[in-house]
Assembly symmetry: C2
Homo-oligomer: 387 residues x 2
């Protein structure tokens, strides 16, 4: 299943004022801010002499992935086999699946991607998984690059010690259909530490563990070609001297309200700009002091700061969820009740799961809707296998 018809909003493309006519609820991407963010992260990595493999779990959108590659990224991170299938089908290079694929069904799908010539890699954290990968890939006559996933204290995936990491790398290298390609070490638990000094100290401690594993691997003649990790929250620290050869940041393309409460660096504010909002419309205005809108818990992620109205006469007003399909906005004192149908653009709580609620991203410049990009890696969109 692929998104063929982008959206009926296409009829408004380029018309003055069309931004305010986008069918709600909708994701709205400010292209100027987005392009600034894409270019800035690419330039930051270039200057630091480090690679960038941005994570597609944020956007699930092959159009955005292509923009990132065009700006210099060396590949794309994917959280799921579904995302990887879409990115490979769209011709994206250097697709790294950043979570272990362990079920028979997912390993079979990975093997089909490899067999079709997809430029894809995967991480692993367990010898049983490595053996299963070799068996499936071996049957295709091709080879698969596999990275050792190292746990930096998040306790989500990864081997827990340097010794286990070396053992697993040796294991990978021992199989006929697999190639040991490097190390992944992603510190998800460090990305949102608000205090910069603490984030710096803990990131450096995590870096030391990664450096240990890299050194041990080199000593074993298993020098990792790729050392990948880091997110938007620690990218600057990791870019400024770390064992990493590349960064996996994702959120920087659009930012979200979560990063508003995090100290970028001493005396510096975030150079990435909030580029994404959720547009909702006023659908009821019978209760004095508030209006109801058409965006509820099916339009916003709940794991992040509460949305706020981003601009216009109600700017700053907080969003109160009023069920799965509705939201409520209290009117700031002295504000006139907006007319039914008024579109309010709201801040995004946590970007990844908010984007995953939508089929399309509405791209705007100024007051104009100029494009619609399908969130084509959302859900399960790969075709049925033969048979």
């Amino acid at each position: 299943m692929t998104v063929t018809a982008p959206d009926r909003s296409i009829i408004l493309f380029g018309a003055p004022g069309s931004r305010a006519k986008i069918d709600t609820p909708a994701l709205v991407l400010d292209l100027d801010a987005f392009e600034h963010n894409v270019a800035l992260m690419a330039e930051t990595c270039r200057r630091a002499g480090i690679g960038l493999r941005p994570h597609a779990k944020t956007h699930k959108c092959s159009t955005i992935a292509k923009r990132q590659i065009a700006a210099g990224a060396l590949g794309i991170g994917c959280a799921t086999i579904d995302e990887a299938e879409v990115m490979v089908a769209a011709g994206l290079p250097g697709v790294l699946i950043t979570s272990p694929l362990v079920t028979a069904g997912k390993i079979a799908r990975l093997a089909r991607l490899v067999e079709a010539g997809g430029d894809v890699m995967v991480v692993a954290d367990h010898p049983a998984n490595v053996a299963a990968l070799d068996q499936a890939i071996g049957a295709t006559g091709r080879t698969l690059r596999v990275l050792v996933d190292l746990d930096l204290g998040h306790h989500r995936t990864g081997v827990g010690t340097v010794a286990d990491g070396v053992r697993l790398a040796r294991e990978i290298a021992s199989w006929k259909a697999l190639r040991f390609a490097g190390v992944q070490a992603y510190a998800g638990h460090l990305q949102h530490i608000a205090d910069h000094a603490e984030r710096l100290a803990r990131t450096r401690a995590a870096d030391a563990l990664v450096a240990d594993l890299v050194a041990e691997l080199k000593a074993e003649d298993l020098a990792p070609a790729i050392v990948t990790g880091a997110g938007t929250g620690t990218h600057r620290i990791n870019a400024a001297g770390s064992p990493f050869t590349e960064l996996q940041a994702g959120s920087y393309i659009v930012m979200d309200a979560e990063y508003g409460g995090i100290e970028y660096a001493p005396g510096e504010s975030w150079p990435f700009r909030p580029a994404l909002s959720v547009a909702v419309a006023v659908t009821s205005a019978n209760v004095p002091g508030s209006v109801t809108t058409d965006g509820g818990t099916k339009a916003f992620a709940l794991n992040g700061p509460r949305p706020r109205v981003a601009s216009g006469p109600l700017a700053g007003a907080a969003y109160e969820f009023s069920g799965d399909e509705h939201g409520r906005v209290s009117l700031p004192e002295g504000t006139a009740t907006p007319a039914l149908g008024t579109v309010l653009e709201c801040t995004v709580p946590h970007c990844d799961p908010t984007i995953a609620h939508f089929d399309a991203i509405h791209c705007v410049r100024g007051d104009r809707l100029v494009d619609v990009w399908p969130v084509d890696a959302r859900g399960r969109r790969a075709p049925l296998p033969p048979g």
Copy 2:
């Protein structure tokens, strides 16, 4: 965009043990429990002499809507124009859109549905909206049935007083292309009151307001043909004598963990069975005492009780979210660590937004996967309009 290929799991249909091989994360529907629930609500309404127009916002699935109609439902509730477009296209009768449609784009889409002969109605709570509806429908040469939406204290949508309700009904009846069809009064804020006595008292108080409006309308020669409302939480109270001609319950088809904490009736437990779960797979098992799975905040709704493992050796173990793509399950003492790839079925926090995360519903009987139904009203799936 329509779901044409259901799912690659189709290759397992009917095979013994295929339930445990469903590709994760996945929605799993126990057909025996689901069919019990559909039949029981239909029978409850029949016995009470009240109609049933179940709400499709719960399932967003035309296959389920057809099952409900086959069991005797007189129509289908829809929260959005997107849902209504899918249900009408699938041939469902009596589609009632239960939130006001106020933007120009949505009213135009509603007019297209009416023009195409769709059996569709909508609620309204404001004269300006009624005027806009008449203008759009008038241009089609058809008529549209419109219900007055009455606010029962939720303060989400609806007119706030009986007098406003009568005025709006008169307004609807005065337009050429509109027909006054009745009253909607949905008490979303009463559905989850845990204590039965309190839920009963507050529902009866709300009923009194509805009865007042109905009486006033009759006195004005505007007798409402339809009086619609109620949800799963208050259905029994509303069915046992109320001003309603029909119920709008939705959650009863699958139930969810939210209803676990709510007293059904004095001395009685819920007769509807939990029919839905989210299947996840163990993807990492390197941390003693816990395992990581492939279901995070993109697979479960967050506005409900935390998921638990529903069956098997880890039954009852609580789910801890570990990001958008991962969950963690602590192993009960004495439990062996499950093998990588082990599928765990988990309870559903809040059914509506959980279902809305998925493209497909995997239907099982016993240990077998027997069907896959597309969640075809998820997202925006209607074709582009001409031009």
